[in-house]
Subunit: 140 residues, 2 copies
């Protein structure tokens, strides 16, 4: 284990909220239960689900997401039973899928979750509330 000082990001991932900078948090698709997905919507959403459709990737992602401040360096999470290149490969996949972002600080590379996308996926699996409450927070 490494467990060096992580830049204590006090921000604790306000995922289900719209990003604090005002961005709309990956407006990919409506909830799965709202209407049949179009081919394009399905393509987009499937890419995200597929990224989490591997046990190793899920463990890596969970490790990052549950880490202090929602970020961790590779050395802190690479104990998942596969070789180092494989870990790197999976992290790249998660990054390509838009679920993680990486940043190099000195010797180590830190990965952190992309709150907006996680929120979008959560919304996908959420049933539309009985009453038609809309507006996910004004674009201000």
């Amino acid at each position: 284990m490494c467990q060096h000082r992580y830049v204590s990001n006090t921000r604790v991932l306000a995922l289900l909220d719209s990003a604090d900078d005002g961005t709309v948090a990956a407006p990919c698709c409506p909830p799965l239960t709202e209407r049949p997905f179009s081919a394009e919507e399905a393509e987009t959403a499937a890419r995200m689900f597929k990224a989490l459709g591997d046990p190793v990737r899920l463990r890596l992602f969970s490790a990052v997401a549950s880490h202090e401040g929602g970020e961790a360096c590779v050395c802190d999470i690479s104990d998942v039973g596969v070789s180092q290149p494989t870990v790197s490969h999976h992290l790249k996949k998660l990054k390509d899928a838009g679920l993680l972002a990486s940043e190099r600080r000195g010797t180590w590379v830190y990965y952190r979750v992309e709150p907006a996308v996680l929120a979008a996926m959560g919304r996908l699996l959420t049933v539309t509330p009985p009453v038609g409450r809309q507006g996910p927070a004004g674009p201000a």
Copy 2:
């Protein structure tokens, strides 16, 4: 299109709720952001994500989930651009993953969503609230 009479299931999928019979709705794993997944948890959860990780399956699932009463016969949803055997193949995968259940009524086979599992997946992607509120039991 077929669009025969569907047994008008007025029940509208109370997914994010625990099942009305009191069952805990597929207690597979904690939220992804709560703690690193174990190998077993990851295996279980990844199976579900993988099932939705294909565009065709996602469209089929969405079509079923958004249909009246949360169920639909194959003929109503098989217009996704692939052959009939392929549709059947994907539906079987969704069924094997526990996301759909099927039932034959006369000539047609009806698929419906498995609310508990969808709810479990939704919980996976939900962040634990910022303040250390613990109990999974909702604050009403």
